[in-house]
């Protein structure tokens, strides 16, 4: 009996403190349906600041800043949002928030309190122009990468001063052709991981746009993907992918081996409906935007 008890305790402890996969239940959930502070109307993008503040934008056109425990701190509206709302955000190491203002075909830059600092981009198919930008990523040298779809389906690189430098992944890119790149993140080696949503795969590019690696294929099984909408990386290089089509998170090793999944379609904590985004904080806690349930689920590191 003692042996059994010991096994139970040790097993339980190991289960709770697993190094890579969080438990089936989220650590906590924040947000509910509504338009008030801390409430959401179909949240679609999330970003975590270096100080672990969490930014969430929803389809009411509001960006809300939360503390790491999900307590709302600040709310502001996008300057215009009647035509559509943002679908991607990222935070610069200096704290500036870059927002892909999808339906206005531009990128807006805010400080942490919502004051607009800069904007760049315009509608079009030419170099430096956007058609429905989806996400923003920043490399170690501060260069800005903007993904877009709506026919352009490419990633454009800009200097830290918003000057266009190059683009890649567009319709003429052969195997590197992207279809609705929806989320981006950099790894430790400075390579860009892209959630290539409608090709149901993850792509790894060097900063010049050369395709280095792809992971995944369309499907519902572990190791397969359906509409990956966002991606983030853990300290050990593990990829965390938010799958809109499978209503789950999936972990991949950098070599493409699936390490596990979390979630599934549903309304209860630990389940999701139309998840759009995922982001991690310094402690390794993951925040997943459970859009159809109007909430954010926080997962234990």
């Amino acid at each position: 009996m003692r042996v059994l008890a010991g096994c139970l305790i040790v097993g339980g402890a190991l289960y709770g403190c697993g190094p890579s996969l969080p438990p089936a239940e989220p650590e906590f959930v924040f947000g509910e349906t509504g338009l008030g502070p801390g409430e959401f109307s179909y949240p679609r993008a999330i970003a975590v600041a270096p100080d672990d503040a969490v930014f969430v934008v929803d389809k009411s056109g509001r960006i809300q800043r939360f503390d790491p425990d999900g307590n709302v701190e600040t709310v502001w509206h996008m300057p215009e949002y009647a035509a559509g709302k943002p679908t991607g955000m990222t935070v610069h190491p200096d704290g500036r928030l870059f927002v892909a203002d999808t339906h206005y075909n531009r990128v807006l830059v805010f400080d942490r309190d919502g004051e607009e600092l800069a904007r760049f981009g315009e509608a079009g198919t030419g170099p430096g122009q956007f058609m429905l930008p989806t996400d923003v990523a920043l490399d170690a040298s501060g260069r800005i990468y903007v993904s877009e779809y709506g026919g352009n389906d490419r990633i454009s690189r800009f200097s830290p001063d918003f000057e266009f430098e190059l683009s890649f992944g567009g319709p003429e890119s052969g195997a590197a052709r992207l279809t609705r790149p929806a989320g981006m993140a950099f790894d430790e080696e400075g390579m860009l991981w892209v959630a290539d949503a409608c090709n149901h795969r993850l792509c790894r590019f060097n900063p010049e746009g050369k395709l280095l690696q792809t992971i995944g294929e369309m499907g519902r099984d572990q190791g397969q993907l359906r509409y990956p909408y966002d991606i983030d990386l853990l300290d050990d290089g593990t990829l965390v992918v938010c799958e809109y089509g499978n209503n789950r998170l999936q972990w991949f090793s950098p070599t493409g081996e699936s390490l596990g999944i979390w979630g599934g379609a549903g309304r209860r904590p630990g389940q999701m409906a139309y998840p759009w985004g995922v982001a991690r904080n310094n402690a390794g806690r993951l925040y997943v935007v459970d859009s159809g349930n109007n909430r954010v689920q926080a997962l234990k590191p």
Partner: protein
């Protein structure tokens, strides 16, 4: 159990089950005997546990429910935004709700519902105040439907809060009855506070009434009386229009109108007009004040009237191509039929307009050229007003024109669908539904799909694809034959429409589905805001190869829409692109698109019409040879009671060419060919062409009737009144007539009406006129038992009832407020609508599952363990673990902070140790004994090893000396005895040596040969000694004996000197 309910917020749904708890003592009594073999502590523990299991089971059966109180409050503001509320009060409303929400408690929620003809949710209940910048324009402000708004508010409240509705209204409801909803809200514990929107228009003129005869004879000069009500003297001009043309009221003046000075109160004006044509005549009067500021509401300065002149037999020929149908119109005119030829774009075709004609001919016109309300009007015109309807075929008519399922098909003598003819090629339609970005997107997605199901034939395939969060892209309606419309519609009504990431997967699925059918026409319709990713080129090329067309409908203008993807798909697949800016257009677009799959209903093989009857009531004697050939036909199916004098012979039988029947009060005719420039060239030049059609039209048209009654209609408030003065030819009153029929409102809804005799020869009735527009009354009258005659009269409601309300209706508001609500005075601070003075919301959560999972099962297991596990230590560990699991997961402590965990563990340990306090001594002994035994065992094993070495050495020496005998390393007698005792103890049930206590000898664990030993009788306990004492003594003596033997053996070997 009831005590539990006092201590904790628990209630029982079926409390009579609690009586079963009384059986617990009985259970205890019965169990005492069966548990008699246990120790007292274990026995009592088992009894307690068993009782607990019983009580928990009783609690579960009684439906134990947790009650949870929530102190937060949700306030829903219901804002009356109908036309009767002056602009200034609308602004005050908005300021009020913003101010009221300024300091609302953080945990409370505020929501906003707009109240007009259609209620809208402007803000879901949300924390933190009002979150919209500006309220959008209300839907249908011409009406006030408080009932619907209250229903919507009730449906919008969150469940777990106290609820308050704050109604800001003038109480002038003109649709529905809100009193029932207010009472339902009160019954549900929802407070309904009211701020009456007080106003009174002091400077106001309105045209109260226009009195015109409802019916007149041709060329009769009818009197028209106007009643104008004013609240102060005012000067201005009256203008009058007859069928939209101005009437010169003052020939001496250069202007058409008449200048008047109105006095305070009612002003009467009168004029007379001759009515020449036999049709419906519309009149309109307007008052224009010289000083517009002197009149508060301009919308009510108009009055309308309607007089139906009977007599005459005009026929309306509606066509999309007047040049093509001019031949028919001319031929009819030559036969003496009065024909009005109109382009379909110019035809008004409301019920009043239709009423002006005896028959209507639709020449090769598709269904989508008419609004839904016009379909209804055509049907009503035939069934209820006795009009004639003739449909002539062509490439856009009947089923090929999308008329399947329309109200017009109902009244026609042929069914537009073809069910039994296998040679007719099938069509297939797939709808890709991505309407989620549109306001009320699911509703519109559902409506268009329903429309398509109604429009296409039962021989066609239909399927609906959408993206849902649970299943991704999937068939919401699997592609199937449209035979079971009811089942397909039910599936459509259950659709979930999500945000589709791309068209690629969806269109591939659609193409695969369409290619799997035997349809000749394969068509796809995408309805979307266009922001999904485009399909692959390979998919589009596959569509081109398979001749699958795809039309696209862009929706969501005003929100956002991405057109280019949708345009591109339509262009590349030969479909059409629609930029739909008004969702109301959507059904019409789908009717138009759906008929693409119905092109197969057109048979363009030239044929000789077959005369099926030698004699026709309509056409007289006919022979096949008389008739010219026709170049095509729209395939239909004759209805069972229809007459079909002409047909086309086919391999399967006959397709109707000419069919007619009586439908309700009217008659309808279907001629399924036509299209004179293409199919019917030889008909148009046929010499009997005019005669043929004149016979048909004369049969179908309604014959004019002259009524011998005076009928007047009028509007008062929200009711219309009809009065009949019945006199016979000798000016005597006609008594006890039966007069009844139907009132057809502006939306073609028919309601029965029956007139009651209110005086000699005077009959009256009233009816609701909630909608503005033209009302038609189709009345049948006559003495009981006699043939009834028909009478049609009209009534015009010029403007919304909203403009007739000149003050607030406090009486209605007081009723709505009831006893529980409060009057608010419009001061947000004083009103304090977020006051927490309502009873807190109590939410109920059934806990029987929880009881079963966390009480009954664990307790039952513990009960079993108590009896089966013969050790209080083991039992205590079991209890401890179960308690810990219960605390952590049953009570949810695991979600809490670390000190919750610590507390739970400590508490479980405390209970565990308190249970096994009697076994603490043996446990400590167990540890010490284990350590000591292990030490001794190690020592003994070392000795055994050295002895074996000695034996080995001795054997070698003997071998060296030539000896063969070899001593065997056998267990000593003491070891054998110990093993015997151990085996004996293992089967000594109820004894002190069992699970949880160490074996007495670890030799077994360390190895060593054994041999079976005969059982040894256990020494009997001496009187006065307890079993434990005896066991201890025995153990000690055994240890002593073993020690002695070991020592002796070592000494013996030492003496041997080997």
């Amino acid at each position: 159990m009831m005590m539990l309910a006092w201590v904790w917020p628990i209630e029982f749904e079926q409390p009579w089950w609690l009586l079963a708890a009384l059986a617990a003592p009985l259970l205890v009594l019965l169990s005492r005997r069966s548990l008699a073999g246990l120790e007292p502590a274990q026995r009592w523990g088992a009894l307690a546990l068993r009782s607990l299991v019983w009580l928990a089971a009783v609690g579960a059966l009684a439906g134990a429910t947790f009650l949870r109180e929530n102190e937060s409050l949700s306030v829903l503001f219901v804002l009356d935004r109908s036309r009767s509320i002056p602009e200034q009060l609308l602004r005050q409303q908005e300021a009020y709700i913003r101010s009221a929400c300024d300091d609302m408690p953080a945990e409370d929620r505020a929501g906003v519902v707009s109240l007009a003809g259609q209620a809208n949710i402007e803000q879901l209940p949300s924390r933190g105040g009002i979150h919209f910048d500006q309220l959008p324009a209300p839907t249908d402000p011409e009406r006030t439907n408080i009932s619907q708004a209250l229903k919507m508010a009730m449906a919008t409240f969150p469940e777990d809060t106290a609820k308050r509705i704050v109604l800001l209204s003038d109480g002038n409801e003109n649709v529905g009855d809100a009193l029932g909803d207010a009472q339902a809200a009160a019954a549900a514990g929802v407070a309904l506070d009211v701020w009456p929107m007080h106003y009174s228009h002091r400077s106001e003129v309105f045209l109260d009434r226009m009195a015109v005869p409802a019916q007149a004879y041709q060329d009769e000069e009818v009197p028209i009386r106007l009643s104008v009500r004013s609240r102060q003297p005012i000067s201005g001009r009256i203008e009058f229009y007859h069928d939209g043309r101005p009437v010169d009221l003052d020939p001496d003046s250069a202007e058409l109108g008449q200048n008047v000075v109105l006095r305070e109160g009612i002003n009467a004006l009168q004029l007379r007009l001759p009515l020449r044509a036999a049709r419906a005549h519309r009149f309109e009067a307007r008052f224009l004040p010289d000083d517009p500021a002197a009149d508060s509401i301009a919308q009510n300065n108009v009055a309308t009237g309607l007089t139906v002149v009977t007599g005459g037999n005009r026929v309306l020929l509606v066509t999309a191509d007047p040049a093509a149908d001019a031949a028919l119109a001319d031929a009819l005119r030559r036969e003496g039929v009065e024909v009005v030829l109109q382009r379909v774009e110019d035809a008004r075709l409301d019920l009043v307009e239709l009423e002006s004609y005896s028959a209507v001919i639709l020449a090769n016109l598709p269904a989508h050229d008419f609004a839904d309300v016009q379909h209804e009007a055509l049907s009503t015109y035939v069934k209820d007003l006795g009009g004639g309807l003739i449909m002539i075929g062509g490439n856009e008519a009947f089923g090929a024109g999308g008329w399947i399922g329309s109200p017009v098909e109902e009244v026609m003598p042929v069914a537009f669908d073809v069910k039994d003819k296998k040679i007719i090629p099938r069509g297939a339609l797939v709808i890709i539904n991505h309407t989620c970005e549109l306001p009320r997107g699911n509703y519109w997605g559902e409506q268009v799909a329903l429309k398509a199901v109604d429009t296409i034939s039962t021989r066609d395939y239909i399927g609906v694809l959408a993206y849902t969060w649970g299943r991704g892209v999937d068939w919401e309606v699997p592609l199937q034959l449209n035979t079971n419309r009811t089942a397909i519609k039910n599936r459509i009504r259950q659709m979930q429409i999500g945000d589709m990431p791309d068209f690629a997967e969806t269109m591939e699925m659609a193409v695969k589905g369409l290619q799997g059918t035997d349809a000749a026409q394969k068509h796809m319709i995408i309805i979307s805001d266009g922001d999904a990713s485009p399909p692959n080129d390979s998919t589009l090329k596959a569509m081109q190869r398979a001749k699958i067309t795809c039309s696209t409908v862009a929706i969501g203008y005003g929100v956002h829409v991405t057109e280019f993807t949708l345009r591109d798909i339509a262009t590349k697949t030969g479909g059409r692109f629609y930029a739909c800016r008004n969702p109301m257009q959507l059904p019409k677009i789908f009717v138009k698109e759906s008929k693409i799959v119905r092109r197969s209903l057109i048979d363009e093989q030239p044929f000789q019409p077959l005369v099926d009857y030698g004699w026709s009531d309509v056409l007289g004697a006919l022979s096949t040879a008389d008739l010219p050939r026709l170049g095509g036909i729209v395939v239909t199916t004759a209805k069972p009671l229809a007459e079909v004098p002409l047909a086309k012979r086919t391999k399967e039988g006959k397709d109707p060419l000419l069919a007619y029947w009586q439908s309700g009060l009217g008659r309808t005719v279907a001629f399924t060919s036509g299209w004179w420039p293409y199919w019917g060239q030889s008909w148009a030049s046929w010499q009997r062409f005019g005669n043929f059609w004149a016979q048909i039209v004369r049969w179908a048209m309604r014959q004019g009737e002259t009524a011998d009654l005076d009928v007047t209609t009028r509007v008062e408030g929200d009711r219309g009144f009809v009065t009949v003065e019945a006199g016979d030819t000798e000016a005597a009153f006609q008594k006890f007539l039966e007069i009844g029929g139907a009132v057809i409102d502006p939306e073609m809804e028919a309601a029965p009406i029956r007139l009651e005799q209110t005086g000699p020869g005077r009959y009256e009735a009233s009816f609701e006129v909630a909608k503005d527009g033209q009302y038609l009354l189709n009345l049948q009258y006559g003495a009981p038992g006699e043939r009834k005659r028909s009478l049609r009269v009209g009534l015009s409601v010029p403007y919304s009832p909203e403009y007739r309300e000149l003050s607030t209706n406090d009486a209605v508001l007081a009723q709505l407020k009831g006893d529980n609500g409060r009057w608010l005075d419009g001061d947000p601070k004083a009103d304090d609508v977020f006051a927490h003075n309502l009873p807190p919301c109590v939410s109920r959560q059934p806990v029987w599952e929880w009881i079963v999972a966390w009480l009954v099962l664990p307790l039952f297991m513990i009960d079993v363990a108590t009896r089966r596990l013969a050790s209080s230590v083991a039992l205590s560990i079991f209890v401890e673990l179960a308690l810990l699991l219960f605390l952590l997961f049953g009570l949810g402590i695991y979600k809490g902070p670390w000190w919750g965990w610590l507390g739970a563990i400590l508490f479980a340990e405390l209970v565990g140790w308190s249970l096994r306090y009697r076994a603490i001594g043996p446990t400590i002994e167990f540890f010490t004994y284990t350590v000591a035994t292990l030490g001794r065992a190690g020592e003994r094993s070392g000795r055994r090893l050295s002895r074996l070495r000695q034996v080995r050495d001795e054997a070698r020496q003997r071998l060296a000396r030539g000896e063969t005998a070899m001593p065997t390393a056998e267990p000593t007698t003491d070891e054998k005895a110990a093993a015997r005792r151990r085996r004996q103890a293992r089967f000594d049930v109820g004894g002190e040596v069992g699970a949880g206590q160490p074996a007495e000898d670890l030799t077994e664990a360390l190895g060593g040969a054994r041999e079976a030993a005969p059982p040894q009788t256990k020494p009997a306990a001496k009187p006065g000694e307890s079993a434990e004492e005896m066991a201890r003594e025995e153990k000690t003596s055994r240890l002593f004996e073993a020690k002695k033997k070991a020592r002796k053996e070592i000494d013996d070997r030492g003496k041997d000197g080997s």
